[in-house]
């Protein structure tokens, strides 16, 4: 975990709601892995002219690594950037996602939030032959997926969170990552778990993981604002997350 600076090099719209930024970053960030993120804020060259708006750092999940000093992030299109914008970055934040050995069928569920934090893993897993299914539920369906690798099977759930072949999708998966937006995450995860349990009898430990994307004030374990009740002990999203076994998390 280091504090480094980055520069917005290129900006490209990828769909109706999102743009991608190519960032020239410190080489220490090129070893970043799926699940890890950056706590970012815009800065000006003149440190003394520091401006404190917005106040909190944003949590940015990279979607691609182009070179040892080039990352791609995805941001809502309404945020305005110009090339040359300087950024201060704390990162990498969090632990890499741990994929099951010999992973064959990975299921990704994005609930009420764009799937951005799930995207960095796609090329790597496809290359090693994993079959990937991504289901978008609720507001996640607003995210237009046409620019994603075509080998990923994309499914839009219905309004009541159903989809064709639901039992099979859930049954075949040997690992599941569930992404929810910031907000009352435990409630959202509980809803998704009820959905899964209604179609699949056994939900063993170490199979279904929830991915958190709360606002992180410090990112280093100091402020304790990201503390979560995980069975047995209190865990921090910033140090121990962003993924936690949903069978171990206290759900609402």
């Amino acid at each position: 975990m280091r504090e480094t600076q980055a520069i917005v090099e290129r900006i490209k719209r990828v769909n109706r709601g999102y743009q991608r930024l190519e960032l020239a970053v410190d080489r220490s960030l090129s070893s970043l892995l799926p699940g890890q993120a950056l706590l970012t804020r815009r800065i000006s060259k003149d440190y003394e002219a520091e401006n404190w708006h917005p106040y909190l750092r944003d949590l940015w999940f990279p979607v691609d690594i182009l070179a040892s000093n080039m990352l791609v992030v995805e941001r809502p299109a309404r945020e305005q950037f110009v090339p040359g914008q300087l950024l201060s970055i704390l990162g990498p934040i969090g632990k890499p996602l741990r994929f099951r050995q010999k992973l064959r069928n990975l299921l990704l569920l994005a609930y009420e939030t764009p799937p951005t934090p799930l995207l960095l893993m796609l090329p790597h897993l496809l290359a090693q032959g994993t079959s990937l299914t991504m289901v978008t539920l609720g507001a996640a369906r607003d995210y237009d997926c046409t620019h994603l690798p075509e080998e990923v099977e994309i499914i839009q759930a219905s309004d009541d969170h159903n989809w064709h072949d639901m039992v099979m999708t859930l049954g075949w998966a040997d690992q599941v990552f569930v992404l929810v937006g910031a907000g009352p995450e435990q409630t959202q995860f509980a809803e998704v778990m009820r959905l899964i349990r209604s179609r699949r009898n056994d939900v063993p430990a170490n199979m279904i993981f929830g991915i958190f994307q709360r606002l992180l004030p410090c990112g280093v374990g100091a402020c304790q604002a990201c503390m979560l009740p995980v069975r047995g002990s209190a865990k921090l999203q910033c140090l121990d997350g962003p993924a936690f076994d949903l069978t171990q998390l206290r759900l609402a």
């Binding site: 975990m1 280091r2 504090e3 804020r41 800065i43 440190y47 003394e48 520091e50 404190w52 708006h53 917005p54 106040y55 909190l56 750092r57 201060s88 704390l90 937006g181 910031a182 907000g183 009352p184 709360r214 606002l215 004030p217 410090c218 990112g219 280093v220 374990g221 100091a222 402020c223 304790q224 604002a225 990201c226 503390m227 009740p229 209190a234």
Partner: protein, 301 residues
């Protein structure tokens, strides 16, 4: 530019640079290792601790505000005994004094905490945080109980009761006053959609607390040091507090937003205070200059 907070016949706290983190911002020990060079700070003030373990708050913890943030963590901590066991070896290695922030609850609990802490050499001083809405009598009793400690006792005053409590708390045994805790406020949680309560941090509170420090510095006896705390986000903010009469400052959530800022403020203020009495120009000390000969001569370089 060393500041000494001394107690007659007890140990004293020597702060080489009058800048430290506010309790709750830097963690319990060295969570910011790799990001901040602790040797450049005056002291480490720990997160708030209690005798009994406290669990995190449920619900919204953070709301982003214009020029600040609302925070409500519930101040989770494993309880003082467990904390001491967990961290005393890290504290022993810190290059700066460790000030333990003790959450003020009852005189009885304060007494138990003091007994524990007097046996811990790795803690150089205690900062007692007073609860909101404490009356003068209640606050005084609490401070008297905590003042039994052998170490210097800093007391952090609540925002709204600052004027009423300052003198009684000093008379009850505080060796220095920290002004102030972050005020409580209410804001709408953008995610959950509801009004939530918590403490308000950030640049927004600075003009309010700066006035309190200036006013209380004029009203209080000169031998009670005031440590200014509230919305300090730049070296100039820190200088404002010193000009208003603070002997030292605590930096709050600025560290979360820009970790290097804490160290930068510390180095700027240390240098500025060291040089301004010699009538040096403001920018003869600049944080990017590196350490000056003046400071090296004082043994802090």
């Amino acid at each position: 530019m060393a500041i000494e907070i001394a107690r007659p016949a007890k140990t004293s706290l020597i702060v080489q640079t009058p800048v430290m983190p506010a309790a709750g911002t830097l963690g319990f020990a060295d969570e910011y290792r790799g990001l901040i060079d602790y040797a450049n700070l005056g002291a480490l003030v720990t997160n708030p601790t209690t005798i009994e373990p406290w669990q995190p708050a449920a619900g919204t913890r953070i709301v982003s505000l214009d020029a600040g943030m609302l925070v409500h963590t519930g101040l989770p901590n494993p309880g003082l005994g467990a904390l001491i066991r967990q961290y005393r070896r890290v504290w022993a290695k810190m290059p700066i004094p460790v000030v333990l922030h003790l959450l003020g609850t009852t005189p009885d609990q304060a007494k138990r905490a003091v007994e524990l802490l007097d046996a811990v050499d790795e803690v150089a001083a205690v900062e007692l945080g007073l609860g909101d809405d404490m009356g003068i009598a209640e606050a005084s009793a609490l401070v008297r109980a905590a003042a039994a400690v052998e170490k210097p006792l800093l007391v952090r005053l609540p925002f709204y009761e600052c004027y009423d409590l300052a003198l009684p708390v000093a008379e009850a045994g505080a060796d220095a006053l920290v002004m102030t805790a972050a005020p409580r406020g209410t804001a709408r949680d953008a995610q959950g959609g509801r009004l939530v309560s918590g403490r308000i941090y950030g640049p927004l509170i600075k003009p309010l607390v700066l006035r309190m420090v200036g006013r209380l510095r004029r009203e209080l006896p000169a031998d009670i040091p005031i440590i200014g705390c509230g919305g300090i986000h730049s070296p100039l903010d820190a200088r404002d507090y010193i000009e208003a009469g603070a002997a030292a400052v605590q930096v709050d959530t600025a560290t979360w937003v820009q970790p290097k800022m804490l160290e930068r403020i510390a180095r700027d203020l240390g240098g500025w205070i060291a040089t301004r009495h010699a009538d040096a120009l403001l920018d003869e000390w600049h944080p990017d200059m590196g350490r000056t000969e003046a400071l090296q001569g004082r043994g802090t370089g």
